[in-house]
């Protein structure tokens, strides 16, 4: 077997992953914190105010990274869900279910910051525009996955059912992303592009990219932390978990 495959195979074993995640967690949190601070410095102090929107445009630096993350987290969840359903890998189930609440958090931030931005620019907190609506639907989908996961008693069965739902709901992602193209809406069309030229000044762009990086790193940090806990719970009967605990004080044998 090639070494990379072998490593993936090893990573799939809960105790190995638990230790692996434990080693990486502090570094990921630190990296997210540092790049986040740098990004916010740029967002609040170096980026010039927009000539049309004034300082309200600074909401962009929380809105857009979170919006991207809301989609990315769903994609990640669905991909892991697919692996979990097809190959029945316990770790993938756990990863998929751990990404759901984080994704929901980012979706929630997107909706709130979008509303906060909409009031000064469009004059309303909320309209039933296609992008806003599909993002709300995304939040409901996350809630559905989380709710289904918690409503079923057997943890593995619950994970599989919720993963299935996540896969069905993936049709919503293209709608969120392309809604600004397919329907003419109030919402901003695509302005930032990683491949082509962006329609935004570099001094405004770098804090955005830095923050996008920071939120991605944060996502993985939070994911690993949640996965660790979930693995503990799932494998609570196994020896490697017992070995982690201070030996039980009923120690007569």
């Amino acid at each position: 077997m090639n070494p990379l495959l072998l490593w993936f195979h090893k990573l799939g074993s809960p105790p190995y992953f638990y230790r692996f995640a434990g080693r990486w967690l502090p570094w990921l949190y630190a990296l997210a914190l540092i790049s986040g601070c740098a990004g916010f410095y740029g967002a609040l102090f170096t980026a010039p105010a927009d000539y049309q929107q004034g300082d309200s445009f600074r909401i962009l630096y929380v809105h857009v990274p979170c919006a991207w993350m809301s989609l990315f987290a769903y994609l990640f969840m669905a991909a892991n869900g697919f692996v979990a359903l097809v190959w029945r890998i316990k770790l993938s189930e756990t990863l998929a279910m751990a990404s759901a609440p984080i994704g929901a958090a980012f979706t929630f931030i997107t909706l709130v910051t979008g509303s906060l931005w909409g009031k000064p620019t469009w004059g309303t907190w909320w309209t039933w525009d296609a992008r806003l609506t599909s993002e709300l639907v995304l939040l409901f989908l996350y809630f559905g996955v989380i709710g289904l996961y918690h409503a079923i008693e057997d943890r593995r069965q619950a994970a599989r059912a919720a993963a299935f739902l996540a896969l069905v709901g993936i049709v919503n992602l293209p709608i969120v992303h392309y809604s600004v193209i397919w329907w003419n809406t109030l919402h901003q069309a695509q302005t930032v592009s990683l491949l082509g030229p962006s329609k935004i000044a570099p001094s405004m762009l770098w804090p955005l990219l830095t923050l996008a990086f920071a939120t991605h790193v944060y996502f993985f940090a939070s994911l690993l932390a949640r996965t660790r806990v979930a693995l503990l719970e799932l494998e609570s009967g196994k020896d490697w978990v017992r070995a982690l605990l201070p030996s039980p004080e009923t120690g007569h044998g």
Partner: protein
Amino acid sequence: MPHSETESLPLLQAQSLCFARNDEAIFGPLDFELRPGDVVLIEGDNGSGKTTLLKVLSGLLEPSSGNVLLHGVPLTLAKLSHQVALLGHLPGLKLELSALENLRFATGMGGIRPGITPRLALASVGLEGYGDVPLRTLSAGQRKRVALARLLLVPAALWLLDEPYANLDREGIELVNRLLDNHAHRGGAALITSHGAYAFTSGMPRRIALRPAA
């Protein structure tokens, strides 16, 4: 009936079968096999995992380790075997329909053995004259008998019966024993559970004892 070829292979094999719920072991590694003509009693106290074992053997629950082989073929979730009749705590009968309507539905779904009709089957479990009233108005024991009539009608080589004696009176218990004998003579096999509190009329030839795995 073509059970001459199956004589060589065991109908059902359990190979170091374990089941755990959320990582708590319910029953330990079990190894046994059933050949045509075998009737085996699974005994165990309350909570020892009898119901769970039958669900695993029918394919409704997945074992946490070990295998179930039917005619030598591993039982998987995707391909359940259809030679198995499971009679659980829940009989799978519609209370709004009459006994005959329920049985006709069962034969429509699962086919019918030659030489028997729903009405005959009902008579042979002692429910003559109760065929046309809604099941809702029958008592617990009478409903159980309707479920037994279904076993008579629908062809299946392996019977998995969860506490078939519960709710039945003495005569009903004898009826179950008679049905099991006939099934064994026809070349079928059966696995039944009980906690051994009943006054059986005939001793069971083989027993498997379930004990808490912890």
